[in-house]
Amino acid sequence: MRLPIPWRNTNTDTSEPDTTDPASPAQLRIRAAYKNLAITPDGIWAFYLLDGVDWPLQTAERRAATMTDQTYRWADLAGHRIWLRGLHAPFPHQQYAKRLYEDSPKRLYPAQGRSFEDLVDAAQMHTIELGARRSASVLGVLVSTYKLQHPTDLAIVAGDKPATASQGELDRVRRELREITTAVARPGFGARPLSASELRWVIHASTGMGAPVPASLLHHDRHAISLDDVPGFTNPVYATEAPYAPTTVLRTNRESRQHTTHVAVLHVDDFEERDTARGDLAPFLAWAGSLEFPVEYCVVADVVDGRDLKGAAELDRRRAKNIAEHHEEHNDDPPARVLRGIDRAREVEDEVQNGTREVAARLRGVVMFAVTGETEEEALETASDLTVTAARQQGMKLVHDHGQYGYYRAFIPGEECPVSGHVTQMPGYFFASGVPNATSSAGDPTGLLIGNIAGSHDVFVFDPLGGTKRNRSNLVAIGSDPGGGKSTLGGALADFIASRGIRTVGYDPSGPWSRLCELPHLRDNARHLSLTGAHRGVLVPHLMVVDPRPGDYDTDAEYLLAVEEARAERMELAIDSFRDLLPYAMVSGDRTGAIQGTIESAVTDVGGDYGTDPWQIVARLEAMGDVGRAIAERLRARAQLKDGALVFPDPRKDVDDEPGKRLMEQAALTVITMEGLALPPKDQPDRSLWSRQALASVPILNLGARFATRTIYADRKPKAVLLDELGISTGGAGSFSSFAVRSSFDSRKWHALVALIFQNPNTLTKLDAQIGNLIGSAFIGRMDDAAARDALPLLGLRGDSGYHEVITGLERGEFVVRDWRDRVRKVYVDRDWWDPALLAALDTNPEGEGTYDEADGIFSGVA
């Protein structure tokens, strides 16, 4: 006969279940709920969802302001008991995929290769494999200890209208609720009431901790639900516990599948002092979401007005003093602990007696963390890891106590929390340093799955047209050192956008992106356009800026202004192009400005009408004296060369706009390259050190980029233009500024993604100091120290913030990303789920590349 072991969850009974015995009377303490309100034996609870506050890569001032705001918020809740709960939910891959699919009505249906559906599936599967999840903070406030007689009275409490005279107590509760709702909605919390569905989710996630919450349990639109609506509201959770067991065992049935979870709850027994100015010290509550294993937390505390603690604080001080005196009576030195106690007691007494309301406010209660595992051993191992990590990273001493079942119940909304041990009393400003709602989440609800966000388990999703949707610039800057992954990311973006059936133009003078056109799924919808092999006059400057259309403007005045701006920009482009077509020695020696002035005069005399023949300008130059004739002579000579011929059409023919129009007609991917052109060195901004061929390529590269950006103005449908920096930086400061300003505004207005891919941020920041304000999003990869400092404005970060070290410390494929809402995160570009054909097309590594092992040969012995 096998004897049962009382401290083990043994189960030797294999008989069929007995279905006749009545259920145990144990129930949730929430007896009724309406919207975010719930009735329990304690009184009426209100539950709120805290809005996320930006934390990673923020300035010290911003973080301090957040903590100050939260200090005020806790003080606002003085006199109430709070229940603060940190949960996490899996990344909503179904909603992500559904929305992405619905947002791509013109997706391609390739005959071969990966389809768009395959891409969506692969992204979903990858988020599941990564175990992507997001954190949330729910705040419960015990509004009143008033015992409602009728559950339907909750509707009166939640209503906007005052209660009748006979319902005075209800009206008092209603006013109290309004005050709390207003207080928690203020900065720092930005909280909103939970919906009935969200409250149900929290109860499900808490009762069946560690098990998924199926959406089928939540699909109800009404503010309140009945048991009949949701068969098995907590369906069904079975908590099992042996006497003095280290974990509580939950057997949770979800959609006919049973999940067994062991839950271990740990208490914070002691907090060390915290230096809130330390940038590397994560908030002690939000920190739980950054660990590699899932950790949930629960804080149950009474918020006490400091004035109510005067007597207790005085007693603490006197007691500590008395203890020290007692040691002295015995000719013994008081322990350091006692002396620290005296000092702290003196500070506490001063704060509660003389401090302002927010400084005096205290929270008294317990802080608990919960970990789960499929087996008891796994849960305890995780608990052990958490204890060590908490001590090392946060200075928190965690203890694992008995009574686990009672503490597990405390994680469920409305349940009673045993507050007999591990009680801590902390000032509001200390608890504010926990910042429960500090979030690492960023990115868009749908778009291209980029990869994991550092410091969290969330994934970054990038919507290439997210700026337009937020009515702001859709200009994105992507930069890194060579090999940092910028071209790969740009290529993946081009592939993703083109796969959605959105017109995409990639301008890549050096040519690697041309391989994208050979991908099986894009082959039928892509075109590689090599401008160096194009016919004469394809890059006539006066064709590169299209004429505005009257229908695109609200008023005639706006239209006329746009026409004038377009004329002026064409002339500027022509001046820059003609100057750069001249030999560098000739232009750089122009100290008096005669050459520049002559070109300007000739161009402005001819005008800036669309399609103006550049030979007219040459003819005008010839009539402008010796300098003009010399310039015209050089330009005629240049027009005989292969690259110059792209700017000057055949003198016997009219200007032909056909190539530009064909570009507009492209439905999917067009890659424009400049094969055979000697490209300028990207890491050498000083043009005097460039070769003659590199200097000669400058105007062609710039005009090529202009040719590509014509796509922006094709129509108001979504589109994307991805440009290599060479095309922009070669235009010079004036040309770049006008491009940046125009792209910033027009990308939004014309529903276009304009991506600028660069190697050295200097080329952008020095050409236009305001570039940080003009771009909507940025991806900054690994760079050296000086370049990293220059890149900070692109991320919207201050140059002295010290975050350049984050950029210099990035690994290959990692980027610091500024999303469309200016949130900055460190993100890993995850290529594991990409199509193998795409990976092969974007692989720019030389053949035979390998890695060195520093330990190679050390332990191989002497031959």
Binding site: A239, N253, H330
Partner: protein, 149 residues
């Protein structure tokens, strides 16, 4: 205010009564331990007196002598037991885990789901699905009643 701390350093002070220098316990202990010890000693003494083999002692030493030996033995045993128990309890009782916490945990463990809990029928969807209900140390968390709008 970059450095912040809880109030626990001030609140978790415990008065330790110091005895004569170079003396072992019980002279150095918290006030509560002293009180507990004083209370436990007479309690254990009474218990020891009741349990002592009085008929044997009175038979061996008739008259008041037997009673006196019994009383002295009981007092000795009672004080020893009080000291041992107080010292054992003093090790686990702290500012963060006071005595009432230990009592509370004891009660929580006593009221947690146990083998003697009645067997229950799990409601499942779809109905009739066989679930593992053989382990009787389970307790169902019943749902709250959500009211209609």
């Amino acid at each position: 205010m970059a450095i912040v701390a809880t109030d626990d350093a001030a609140r978790r002070q415990q008065f330790i009564w110091l005895g004569p220098v170079n003396s072992p316990w019980p002279f150095e202990a918290s006030g509560r331990a002293w009180i507990m010890g004083l209370l436990l000693c007479p309690a254990f003494t009474v218990v020891a007196f009741v349990l002592a083999p009085r008929p044997l002692l009175t038979a061996a030493m008739p008259g008041p002598g037997g009673w006196l030996v019994t009383a002295l033995t009981a007092a000795l045993l009672g004080i020893t037991a009080g000291v041992i128990v107080t010292r054992r309890v003093g090790r686990v009782v702290s500012a963060t885990r006071p005595l009432k916490h230990h009592v509370n945990v004891l009660l929580m463990e006593a009221s947690a789901p146990r083998d003697e809990q009645p067997r229950i029928h799990m409601s499942t969807d779809p109905a009739g699905l066989w679930l593992e209900t053989r382990d009787t140390r389970v307790r169902r968390i019943d749902p709250p009643t959500f009211i209609e709008e």
